[in-house]
């Protein structure tokens, strides 16, 4: 059995690792100090179970669990938390297992025995409870059995094409399995819908221009791409851009 222990505090990891060794010496342990590095390790080591702290820098535990759940063979996840009132309540209503710090050995033993895979819908519900920042900082896609992360701040725009949504970001174009509507709702603060099929990052817009036949288009940073804006959404886009630049 392989267990991935994720916590940003070394002493906290050490304690859990010591306990795991005591519980069962057949357990192999890998560790990570934040959600993002946990995903890299999960890609390479394919752990059976992930013990993960919630509050961590770079990527927190809830977001990491969300991406883990997208893996072809997702690991079971057990959350560990010192004191997150909201999360604990949500775990209970969604029947997700969690441990409280300082972790007790018998609780840990039990949790590992019955560790279950958490479904992504449950985790999405949890995401919303994260205070202040309800949106992910990364999108994940699985290619060749591994998770690839797309930092949201590097995304220029999303374009829907019949069934799929394509992400245009700094490292190219990637197909993702999500709906434009869902993305629009999640990233409402940083992205604007400019067309039925396009959602654009406000930070990547240079300007909004008018073409000869009265239609609007947007010029994007870096590659000077032009994206057409539907007449219906032009006014709102203008206002949002103005607000953003203030």
């Amino acid at each position: 059995m392989k267990i991935l222990v994720v916590d940003d505090e070394q002493l906290a990891r050490e304690r859990v690792i010591d306990m795991l060794a005591k519980i069962d010496n057949q357990i192999t342990v890998v560790e990570a100090d934040n959600g993002r590095s946990a995903l890299e390790i999960a890609n390479n080591d394919q752990p059976d179970t992930v013990l993960i702290d919630i509050r961590m820098p770079v990527m927190d535990g809830l977001e990491c669990a969300f991406h883990l759940a997208a893996m072809p063979t997702p690991p079971s996840v057990i959350f560990i938390t010192a004191y997150e009132k909201h999360a604990v309540k949500a775990f209970e209503t969604n029947a997700i297992d969690y441990l409280l710090k300082p972790v007790r050995e018998e609780r840990l033993t039990k949790a590992i025995e019955k560790a279950a895979i958490i479904n992504r819908a449950n985790l999405a519900a949890l995401q919303k409870l994260r205070q202040g920042k309800a949106n992910r900082s990364y999108l994940s896609v699985v290619s060749q059995g591994k998770i690839q992360l797309i930092p949201v701040e590097e995304i220029r725009y999303f374009k829907a094409d019949q069934k799929y949504v394509t992400v245009y970001w700094e490292n190219g174009e990637t197909l993702i399995d999500e709906s434009l509507k869902g993305l629009e709702d999640e990233f409402v603060e940083t992205f604007i819908r400019i067309h039925r099929n396009a959602l654009v990052s406000i930070a990547h817009i240079v300007s909004l221009e008018k073409n000869r036949d009265g239609g609007y288009y947007i010029i994007m940073k870096d590659n000077q791409e032009k994206l057409s804006v539907s007449r219906r959404l032009a006014v709102e886009a203008k206002q949002r851009m103005k607000k953003f630049s203030l």
């Binding site: 505090e9 002493l11 010192a82 710090k101 300082p102 202040g132």
Partner: protein, 357 residues
């Protein structure tokens, strides 16, 4: 400091205080103006009347203030009902005596003993005398009653605010963040196995921190005590965060004997770590500096913050506002705490007024 405490004891304001005297004189003058304006006749406003009214009313007011000031010490021995009755009695008595005096002064100087129908004249004068006393006593009784009522209500209001802020003070001072507590206990649990001596030290530090948060004696906490608390707190966090937490501790030799409320700097450090260092994968440096100025100390706490984080400041504000409130009520000054936020840094500056040499 002592003045406000005395004021709280009795509902009457300090009549020896120049501010109170000034306010009362002002109110008395307003009363004089009202009385001059009051008669509804076609006559133009009579400035001689205003002068006479003012003279008399100010005379009465100042005399009452003088007597009440002299009796001030006695008031603290009785409860509010007695204080109200006694002070009301005093003011009525003073007014009566002065009204009588005024009457005799005015009439004696103008009595004409050679008028015909002398007896009738005296009768009319007597009649006027009683009318005058009645009017003066009526106005005075009502006005003093209103004034006492006003003092009483204001006192109640002030007391309520005082007790509310006292309660909040205690609640918030006792609030060591649970997040910190449980993480700290977890760290200690881990240290016990691997570095028992470190664990022992961490427990001692935690105990000191709790003791400070439970401390009730507000007046005896010095800057030195607070700095010790801060160091102990940082030592605990150092165990948890390891290399991620770097410290830049710039404290010169400080003037001794500077007092400040307990836990007025530690929560700011806690914010710096909770919202800053902990949120950064690589960690960062917390700057803690103190500059000695002529009449105050300037303490600065600066920490890096994650770039894209625009919404962590609700939590910040609670502890920060509490610190601000306590500092400002302790030193009785405004604007002692200020915050600067740049793209990557969060800076809190605290001014600690130093006692006059």
């Amino acid at each position: 400091m002592t003045d406000t405490k005395e004021n709280i004891k009795s509902f009457l304001p300090d009549f020896c205080n120049s501010r109170t005297v000034f306010v009362l004189i002002l109110v008395a003058e307003l009363l004089a103006i009202i009385l001059t304006l009051a008669p509804l006749s076609y006559n133009p406003i009579n400035f001689t009347n205003l002068a006479m009214n003012s003279l008399f009313i100010q005379w009465v007011t100042l005399a009452c203030i003088g007597v009440l000031c002299a009796f001030r010490k006695q008031f603290y021995m009785y409860n509010d009902h007695w204080v109200a009755t006694i002070s009301y009695g005093i003011t009525i008595l003073v007014t009566f005596v002065l009204a009588e005096l005024t009457w005799w002064l005015v009439t004696m100087s103008s009595i004409d003993f050679n008028v015909p129908q002398y007896e009738h004249y005296i009768f009319l004068l007597q009649y006027e005398h009683y009318l005058f006393l009645l009017r003066v006593m009526g106005i005075s009784a009502i006005t003093w009653a209103l004034a006492l009522r006003y003092f009483y209500i204001q006192h109640q209001y002030r007391q309520q605010i005082e007790s509310e802020s006292e309660a909040r003070y205690q609640v918030l001072q006792a609030r060591i963040k649970p997040h910190f507590l449980f993480n700290c206990l977890n760290t200690i649990a881990s240290l016990i196995r691997r570095q028992p001596e470190m664990a022992e030290q961490a427990i001692e530090d935690l105990a000191d921190l709790f003791r400070a948060s439970l401390q009730d004696n507000r007046d005896s906490h010095t800057l030195e005590d607070e700095l010790t608390i801060c160091k102990r707190y940082l030592r605990i966090e150092q165990h948890r965060l390891g290399k991620r937490l770097q410290l830049d501790w710039q404290i010169p030799t400080l003037p001794v004997n500077i007092k400040l409320p307990a836990l007025s700097l530690q929560p700011l450090l806690e914010n710096a770590i909770y919202h800053g260092i902990e949120q950064l994968g690589e960690g960062g440096t917390v700057l803690f500096s103190c500059v000695v100025e002529e009449d105050h100390l300037l303490i600065t706490i600066k920490n890096p913050v994650p770039e894209r984080d625009n919404n962590t400041h609700h939590g910040n504000r609670l502890a920060q506002d509490n610190v601000r409130q306590r500092l400002e009520s302790f030193f009785n000054k405004d604007n002692l705490l200020s915050v600067y936020l740049t793209d990557h840094n969060y800076t809190v500056s605290v001014i600690v007024p130093s006692p006059k040499a």
